[in-house]
Amino acid sequence: MQHIIEILDKNGLVFAFLVVGIIMSLSYVVSKKLTNHKIPGAAIAISVGLFIAYFGGEKGIANIPAFTGMALLGGSMMRDFAIVSTAMGASFSEIRKTGFIGIFCLVIGTVVAFFIGGTIGYLLGYTDAKSFATIGGGACTFIVGPITGGAVGASSEVIAISIAVGVIKSVFVTISTPFLAKKLGIDNPQSAMIFGGIVGSTSGVSAGLASTDVKLVPYGALTATFHTAMGCLICPSILYYIVHLFLN
């Protein structure tokens, strides 16, 4: 047994291909047989991924021996590479149509998430400007939170909460998108770009759109990645400054 685990660990990436392949195939069978395609196979597979991550540690299931390769397959390098490749399916003219509105979405999405997030944190007892800004940053994405916290000098507890906020947001977006897509009118490239720009969370948006309609992924992912950039720019600077004026 020990010997087998060693082999699996040594060939981690290859084993990860096998594991993900099995998860995908089982999820698609469940989607077809049990839900009659109502819940997309991709959504089930992603939920299974989150579920098994709970049994691991800081790096999810990759903390368990034999599964270390999952961190490589699901790491930021492969994720970004695969996201960029989806741009192949995006057409330039569709993106140009969204134009100015797209930029407007980025700003408004960041500001709303920041202030709603910070205010809820404030009501729950995190009342200083640094914590407000950090938790508000986390409400943009789990990258913006720690970057804001680091920039304004928030405590590590608050930074940990801001990461958790971002992760919860991305999980919530992933799970809720396929159900809400129709109600929110996300069925064309323009609305997918608006969705990505406002909601942010690249992983949540792209996973959610993947289980809604794969064709929309590149449009949502494109604006979502700029959302993180926008958050990193304005949360620790202008927005923190505004909060600072009111709270200190």
């Binding site: 699901g74 970004d80 996201i83 960029v84 192949m88 608006i194």
Partner: protein
Amino acid sequence: MKIYGVAILAGCFLVGHIIGDQLGKLFHLNGNLGGVGFAMLGLIFMNDYFKRKNILKPETESGMLFWSTMYIPVVVAMSATQNVKAALSGGWVAVLVGIFATLACYALIPFIAKLSKNQSENKK
């Protein structure tokens, strides 16, 4: 050859990351500002250019398309390696902030989508 497609993809990816990284430095932030977004824009522009010149071979294209089909499996692996335990142990603050901030954003979407529709109709 398929590797040409993969190489184009890799080139766009790296250029995007370098731009994002430099932007981060410019604003004194320890991070990559929209590197993935710039990489995607680069690929979209190149793709557009190749198609107009009609020099993109299907074989080259399939090298890129392979990776876009690997996208969902990669996302599954990514969700399996998240710190889900910590997200849940962040307690109610994290859960409440995460969910309500997202719902507030959702509420804006139909409104802005309408705005965008009006704008594009005006253009016509």
